[in-house]
């Protein structure tokens, strides 16, 4: 039941984003791509989704201009 509730919540969220015309947000696209991992037949879905939501660069950034995070790497920050 718990997973059912959460899945329906995700569906409602996607509908809400589209209804309000917010699909330009890079995090919306990151989320939709990550959802594909749920269809995998292999164990390890959580790590794969977390990796999709991760910054894979290796060098420290020059300066921390903010303190928070957004949930997915911004493709415009190269």
């Amino acid at each position: 039941m718990d997973a059912r509730i959460k899945l329906i919540d995700v569906a409602a969220f996607l509908d809400r984003v589209e209804r309000h015309g917010q699909t330009d947000d890079y995090r919306y696209h990151a989320l939709k791509e990550a959802i594909n991992e749920l269809q995998s037949d292999e164990i390890g879905r959580v790590a794969k989704i977390l990796n999709r939501f991760s910054d894979h660069s290796t060098e420290p950034i020059d300066k921390a201009d903010i303190q928070g995070a957004f949930g997915a790497p911004n493709p415009n920050n190269k």
Binding site: V46, L50, N51, T58, P60, I61, K63
Partner: protein
Amino acid sequence: MVSRTTADYESLAYAGCKAVNEPAFWAGFDRSSGDGFYDYFRQITEYEPKRAAKFCIDHYCWLCINPKEAEDVGLAREVISIIPDFIQCDNVLGIGEIGLNKNSKNELLILEEHIQLAVDHDQMILVHTPHLEDKLKGTKLIVDALNNHSKIDHSKVIIDHVEEHTAKIVLSNGYWAGMTLYPESKVTPNRAIDMLEIFGNENVWLNSACDWGISDPLSVPKAALEMRRRGYDDEYIDDIVYKNPVKFMSQCDKFKLR
């Protein structure tokens, strides 16, 4: 626990909690001077132990300037310079929670200076890893910084906030892994137990997030209940929620349960 009410200590006591350990962390806002940290260190070495003792809970803490405020190198170095004044306090277990937040050059510089401080004063280390998209990269940078120091005893370092994609990086390098539990936003009790099933229960502890956000001091007891629901016996649960953290913290001579 500076961000919690006295009623939270009472709830922990009712749940059977014997001791808490409180890392030096962000105050919910950036402090403006080293003096602010001096007062904060007095709060967690003098006042909080008394508040906890009213409920027969031993209070331990860790000292540092947290990564969120480490971008200001001048302030960070001022804070690092006053830490030795507090290291010998009875309830100080070591240096923490140091680490990274946005994985910047300055944060990394201050992390390295904290590591050197711990080595110079023979202190254990508690490390915070970044959240969300920054966690994977930050965990790798932190492990590299620790591995690059030849005098670090890996068994005396715990790297906290591990998740499914970072736990193996931490454990395979010989460090302890901390799983900080939140009601919903990060690692939940159920996910933590999943990770114990995947990565094993050696050199792992669970801890309840008790910060400024939505968090629950009783997350560890709730994880224990969930373990019981899954059929784990009392001995296994005791290893996870009690013996493992006692084993890690007992490496500091000052850690003594009454």
